[in-house]
Structures are given as structure tokens and as C-alpha cells.
């Protein structure tokens, strides 16, 4: 398709797929927050999601396609960009680019690897099956997600991996969100500073929202 061969077309795919995933992580964070309401909160929420039945798999397949496009074009564009400067400068000063913008491919790959681990841990219960919500039920007979999350994150190494991945995601988003709006042509003199700031604030809120759970577990605020 001509659109996908174009430099801008590919970036539009990156921007749209990225924004869809931003919406997903916002919804995911709000869902996670139910853990603070105790077992009744998150277990009821999880049971409700499970109630969607086969639609969960439709949703998962859509997200998987969106993710695949983002990863595929992200790697392709990065390789093309590297090839565009075969000889490096001896001295090069960065004036406007940020640490986040220059490390998009690396934070992206960290997120991808982490995502596999995360799914194996909490969705497919391959890692640490002993605490799996598939085998443990709460007092009301619902899968005990609360127990799984709290016991899982009580392990300091596991919590460390989660926090590190969340930091990588937040860095990715500080550049990614404003970058997506620029690519989709949404920036002009008035909106540019607002969108850049909003992107950074959104990344900050997501950072706090996500790390609050492992921190609360380590601090003993959330316990099983």
C-alpha cells in the first residue's frame, strides 16, 4: 500500500497505534486502582472483565495487532534513520531533543520485553503459578486477583522489574504523546506548548498511578 511506504504514512501508523495504547494504559491504570478498594474491589472488577467472554479475545487480538504495527514500524523507522547517518559526528551537541526522544527505541524494547513478562505473570500465570488467580478464589468464589497481585509484588525483585518498566513507559510517553500530535498535524503555535506540557503531565500521572501499587505493597499498605 502506498500509504505505508510513505515516510509520513508510517509515522501516522506509529502515532495512531501509540495513541490507542495510551488510551489502553489509562483504562488499565483506572482498573488497577480498584486494588486499593481491597479484594472486593479488584476481584469484582476482574470478574466483570471475565464476564465479557469471547469479546476479551476480540479485544486482545485488536490490541495485539495495534502493538505489532507499532513495534514493526518503530523498528523499521529506527533502522532507516540509523542508515541515514552512516558516519557519526566526533562532537555533537543536542539542543532540543530530550533523553526520552533519543531513547525511544530502547524504552520501547524494554516495554515490549516487560509486556511478555507481565502477561506470563498476571494473565497466563506461567510465572509463579502458585499465586495464580486461576487456582485461588476469594471468599465469594471469584478468582482472587488481589491475592495474586499482592503476593506477586511482595517479592522485591518482581516489584523492581515493575517499577523499572513503568519508568521506561513514562519516559516513552513524555516524548510519544506530544510526538503523536505533531505527526497527526495537531500542532500549531498555540497548541504546541499546551500539548507538550499535557503529554508530560499525562506521563507523570501514569507513572504515579502505576508505581503506587508496588510501592503500597512494599510499604505494607496493601497486604493479604
Amino acid at each position: 500500500m502506498q500509504f505505508l511506504k510513505s515516510s509520513i504514512g508510517r509515522k501516522i501508523v506509529m502515532a495512531l497505534s501509540g495513541l490507542i495504547m495510551v488510551l489502553f494504559v489509562i483504562a488499565h491504570m483506572l482498573g488497577n486502582a480498584s486494588v486499593f478498594a481491597g479484594p472486593d474491589g479488584i476481584n469484582a472488577y476482574a470478574a466483570k472483565l471475565q464476564g465479557f467472554g469471547p469479546f476479551i479475545w476480540v479485544f486482545r487480538l485488536i490490541m495485539l495487532s495495534v502493538l505489532s504495527l507499532h513495534v514493526y514500524f518503530g523498528i523499521l523507522l529506527t533502522l532507516e534513520n540509523r542508515a541515514a547517518r552512516p558516519a557519526a559526528y566526533t562532537v555533537k551537541k543536542d539542543l532540543r531533543s530530550t533523553f526520552a526522544s533519543r531513547t525511544m527505541i530502547w524504552t520501547g524494547l524494554v516495554i515490549a520485553v516487560y509486556l511478555v513478562y507481565h502477561l506470563l505473570h498476571f494473565t497466563f500465570h506461567v510465572i509463579n503459578p502458585g499465586i495464580s488467580s486461576a487456582v485461588n478464589v476469594d471468599a465469594s468464589g471469584r478468582p482472587d486477583v488481589f491475592r495474586m497481585v499482592v503476593l506477586g509484588l511482595q517479592d522485591l525483585f518482581t516489584s523492581f522489574i515493575y517499577i523499572a518498566a513503568v519508568i521506561a513507559s513514562a519516559l516513552h510517553l513524555t516524548h510519544g504523546i506530544q510526538s503523536a500530535f505533531q505527526t497527526l498535524g495537531g500542532n500549531n503555535d498555540r497548541t504546541f506548548p499546551v500539548i507538550t506540557k499535557a503529554g508530560t503531565i499525562a506521563a507523570g500521572i501514569l507513572l504515579l498511578g502505576y508505581i503506587s501499587i508496588p510501592l503500597a505493597v512494599i510499604a505494607g499498605v496493601l497486604k493479604h
Binding site: R85, R96, H175, T183, N188
Partner: protein
């Protein structure tokens, strides 16, 4: 003042290059950067050595020919200034200065600091024009242009095609250059007719020349001697989306 220079020397396009050290002595702060290099070159010629090759033409900051990365910044440390308009008062006695050519796959080094920037010309040739009927000069103000559009088109048209945006871009992308050209033509009523075709062929030509993709790092705007805004890249993207939707319809 006395300076130590580290200058990229490369005999030809396929020769390996390297940084060589030179000393620039008794340099006046009133000199432009290129005049400082002239002094160094005269010394090299007197001692029977090959002078440093560099591009220059108007020496008044409007032709876009001079192209040197000075201490890691295309056109050097002063904002919105070409190398020829950069004066030695921006440096201190005893400074070390690294001078390198624009580095991009699409800009092969010809010799020392001189690179071949004809890739930008080919991007222009692909669609950076408007097609008009020849004949008599049209009446002034026969085609009305809103003041805002005229101003924006002029801002974009300030691009002198020096290639600093490419040199500064971590991805070696010519997106700011292409965006400026597409914008200044497309903002005009005469340029709107071919807008959809133009944005497609010019961005395609850009990729074909070996430039990278825009990563929204905005290094380009920071080094542009004319201060062209990255808002024009957003405009380029809007034009592309419009063209893509039009092609679908």
C-alpha cells in the same frame, strides 16, 4: 586570540577522513568564522600544505552555502546565524574548536568540509514548484491572498536550503526543509492546485535520497539559521493526511 582547531580533512568522496589539528593565531574578534579559516588557509598555503576546503558564497547569510558543524552544532553556537555571519567574538582565547562537515548519507563528503547537497535540489525538482501558464505578467492583486497566509508563506519561504536541519537531525531527516518548501507553496492560492501531488512526491523523493524519517526531536528548528518552525512539519503532515484522504475518495 589564539585557537586550536580540529578540522575534518578528507581528500575525496571515497577516501577515509580524519580530524587534524591546526592552530589559528592572532585572530581578531571582529573576523567572521570563514575569515578565520581564510587566515588559517593562507598559513597552510605558505607552508606548502593543502588548504582546508569549505563551501562559501555570499558571506552575508542568505545563500545557504556555508555548511560546517562547529563544536557539534551546525552553523555554530550563535542562534539563527550562518557560519559566515558567525563572528569570532563568540569564542574565547585558547578555545578548542571542532569543525566537521554535514554528516548524512544523502550528503556525501566531496572534500574536507564540502558536501554534495544536490539531494535537496532533487527533492525540489520532484514537486517544489507551481505550474502556471506562460504569457503576460498577471495584474497585481488579481489573486487575493489573506494577510495571515502571506505572512506564514513568507516565514516558510525564508528557508535558504543550507541543510543544517539534516545535519542536526539525529535521524538525518530533511523533513523541515521539505515542510518549509511544501508549506510556502501550498499556502498560496497558486500553489494549492497541486498541493496533494506535491506533498506526496516531495516526501517520497526525500526518502529516496536516503534522508531519514522525522522523529520529532526538533533539533532542526534549533539550528535553522532562519528559525523555520517545526509547526511547518505539522502542516506538512496535515497536507499529507488531506492528500491521502483525497486519494481514497
Amino acid at each position: 586570540m589564539n585557537l586550536t582547531l580540529f578540522v575534518w580533512r578528507q581528500k575525496g568522496p571515497r577516501e577515509p577522513g580524519r580530524l587534524e589539528q591546526y592552530s589559528a593565531e592572532n585572530i581578531s574578534t571582529e573576523m567572521s568564522f570563514l575569515e578565520m579559516l581564510d587566515v588559517v588557509n593562507e598559513g597552510l598555503i605558505r607552508s606548502g600544505r593543502e588548504p582546508i576546503a569549505f563551501d562559501h558564497d555570499c558571506r552575508e547569510g542568505i545563500c545557504g552555502t556555508c555548511s560546517q558543524v562547529i563544536n557539534g552544532v551546525p552553523h555554530g553556537p550563535q542562534e539563527k546565524t550562518t557560519v559566515c555571519q558567525l563572528h569570532m567574538r563568540n569564542f574565547k582565547d585558547g578555545d578548542s574548536i571542532y569543525i566537521e562537515p554535514w554528516r548524512a548519507k544523502a550528503f556525501p563528503v566531496i572534500k574536507d568540509l564540502v558536501v554534495d547537497r544536490s539531494a535537496l535540489d532533487r527533492v525540489i525538482q520532484s514537486g517544489g514548484y507551481i505550474s502556471v501558464h506562460t504569457g503576460g505578467v498577471p495584474d497585481a492583486n488579481a489573486v487575493l491572498v489573506p494577510k495571515e497566509d502571506a505572512e506564514a508563506a513568507m516565514d516558510a519561504a525564508e528557508c535558504i536550503g543550507c541543510g543544517a536541519c539534516v545535519a542536526a537531525c539525529p535521524n538525518g531527516s530533511a523533513m523541515l526543509f521539505t515542510a518549509a518548501k511544501v508549506s510556502h507553496l501550498t499556502l498560496m492560492p497558486q500553489g494549492k492546485v497541486e498541493a496533494a501531488r506535491r506533498v506526496c512526491v516531495m516526501t517520497e523523493a526525500m526518502l529516496k535520497e536516503g534522508f531519514g524519517n522525522c522523529g520529532n526531536h526538533y533539533e532542526c528548528q534549533a539550528v535553522c539559521p532562519k528559525g523555520i518552525s517545526v509547526q511547518f512539519i505539522a502542516k506538512l503532515n496535515r497536507e499529507f493526511i488531506k492528500a491521502a484522504l483525497k486519494a481514497e475518495a
